[in-house]
Amino acid sequence: MGETLIDVEDLKKYFISSNFASRLTGREEALRAVDGVSFDIYRGETFGLVGETGCGKSTLGRTIIRLYEPTDGKIYFKNTEITSIKGSSLRKLRKDMQIVFQDPLSSLNPKKRIMEILWEPLRLHNICSEHEKERKIFELLELVGLSKADRHKYPHELSGGMLQRVNIARALAVDPDFIVLDEPTSALDVSIQAQILNLLRKLQNEFRLTYLFISHDLGIIHNMCDRIAVMYLGRIVEVGDWKVFENPMHPYTKALLSCVPSIRKESRKNKILLKGAVPSPVNIPSGCRFHPRCFLKEDICSEIEPDLKEVKKDRYVACHLYQ
């Protein structure tokens, strides 16, 4: 495999909810959104992060690019630790890492025209001068498949798909190495979603981008990603390449994959229906956090939390079945 671009070690992000009364009574609650995850992302790949609502995948993505302060753990970018850099060095880092969010409309300031939105990063990082502005913005618009005339529009005048193109253009403006794609197509219709996915793939080849692709849609993840990590309740339970889809190892991955509907009759498998609902990240179960819903549970599962271990080449699983 290629060179490591991002290295995350035992990263944690807790949200502490506290108010005056809870401080008095000393009962502050910690929402453990990301609870100790480690993985590498290689240069030029698309690393997929898949999981259900509330599993912490978005928080993880935002913490890696330092939009949230990590609670614990370490993040390395190009072999430099960026876990707690601040001020101008953090601002410099912003040029290398960008993000595209789920909701294309709310990702754009409604009071600004497309041109002003795209000019902001260019000006901020001194990428081009005032008189090159028009040319550079045209370039960006063309790159993402928008017309020049669109630059005078306000976000509310564009459709969802076009807005997401603007968001991608803004992220590309600073010429980053790494982009976090946080459910970039889940607010879009199927026919538009495919256009955006193709665009992202084209841009990746053109600029040697590295993607962290966050999604709950296994179809998209399978289609887009070189390697994937499956998250459950703040932890990664399985990491591997596309073989994860062919031969899932962790019981949760198995269940998740079995539940994906398919248009092909022959690929409709027997569904593994999990019991109960996902527990709250405030009260995480002891031992393996999946054990209360697991269909292959053993005694040890409720006591000891399994580590993410390499069980075959390039396949990591956190489950007692494989330890």
Binding site: I99, S106, K111
Partner: protein, 304 residues
């Protein structure tokens, strides 16, 4: 096709929203008309006293020392609104009073606006302890009855126009702070602020460029609605003798003196009261319309 048309016709989204709202809202148009009238008369009074050497209206205001026999006249052809205890024309005094109302109303709301928006934006954006301290202070102001608090200020520091403006400004300020804070709290969570941070913008820049421009529309709505309340508050202070002092003409004072002669000449109290009421009502009508125009909840999904 419609997209192209809407682009050329309405460059700015809020212009479109407001024009659509006002086109179908006749009461709001009426309110707008009354506000126009109010401003016109306030400006007219200034022009009249500056350029015409008090010629036009001053003839309507008799010198109090002359004690004309025309005291307590009911409305007539000469005096449309009647005359007061000194025989002064009430119509002229109501017109003069518009100037005080406009100046005091707008400057006190300006005071609330500036401080309220600042406090609300800082509290909302920074959150945590800053938010806690600022909002508790605002809550203190909110929990004392507004009129009582304004009275305290004016009674203690003296009844003059500046103190009235400040007092009314302070009591209306919490509204702005609260609205802006909650607006900022929600804007802060919107992805475009997150994206601005991801681009590397400084906090101060994010507040100025992204947060305040988006929160300001709701502050403007509160401002329009507050001018009405501010005018009522100012009038209440004047009514109690703690507001603008004579010889400045204010509707509250006129109403207060009209009250004493209520059973002799009801018109004396009626017309200034009506003026206060209509002014407050106009600002409420326009404020409601502006709010409806900006309310995202009222917009349907085909409004793109």
């Amino acid at each position: 096709m419609s997209e192209k048309m809407s682009v050329t016709m309405f460059k700015k989204p809020w212009v479109k929203d407001i024009s659509i709202e006002f086109r179908s809202n006749i009461p709001a148009l009426f309110g707008l008309f009354l506000i126009f009238l109010l401003f016109f008369s306030a400006i007219f009074v200034t022009i009249d006293s500056t350029f015409f050497d008090r010629k036009i209206i001053s003839t309507l205001i008799a010198d109090p020392l002359e004690m004309t026999p025309d005291t307590y006249q009911p409305p007539s052809k000469d005096h449309w609104f009647g005359t007061d205890e000194f025989g002064r024309d009430i119509l002229a005094r109501v017109i003069y009073g518009s100037q005080t109302a406009v100046i005091v109303g707008i400057s006190s709301v300006g005071f609330s606006f500036v401080f309220g928006v600042l406090i609300g934006a800082i509290a909302g954006f920074y959150g945590g302890k800053v938010d806690h301290v600022l909002m508790r202070m605002v809550e203190v102001l909110y929990s004392i009855p507004a009129l009582a608090f304004a009275l305290f200020i004016v009674a203690i520091f003296g009844a003059n126009i500046q103190n009235v403006v400040i007092a009314v400004g302070i009591i209306n300020m919490p509204k702005f702070a609260r609205v802006i804070r909650s607006e900022v709290l929600s804007i802060k969570e919107r992805e475009f602020v997150m994206a601005a941070r991801a681009l590397g913008l400084k906090n101060s820049r994010i507040i100025m460029d992204h947060v305040i421009p988006n929160a300001i529309t709701s502050a403007l709505v509160v401002a329009t609605l507050s001018i009405g309340t501010a005018i009522l508050d100012v009038a209440a202070l004047s009514f109690l003798g703690f507001g603008v002092q004579p010889p400045t003409i204010s509707w509250g004072l006129m109403l207060s003196s009209g009250r004493e002669a209520l059973f002799i000449d009801p018109y004396l109290a009626f017309f200034p009261g009506l003026a206060i009421f209509l002014t407050a009502m106009s600002f409420n009508l326009v404020g409601d319309a502006v709010r409806d125009a900006f309310d995202p909840k009222l917009k349907t999904r085909w409004n793109r």
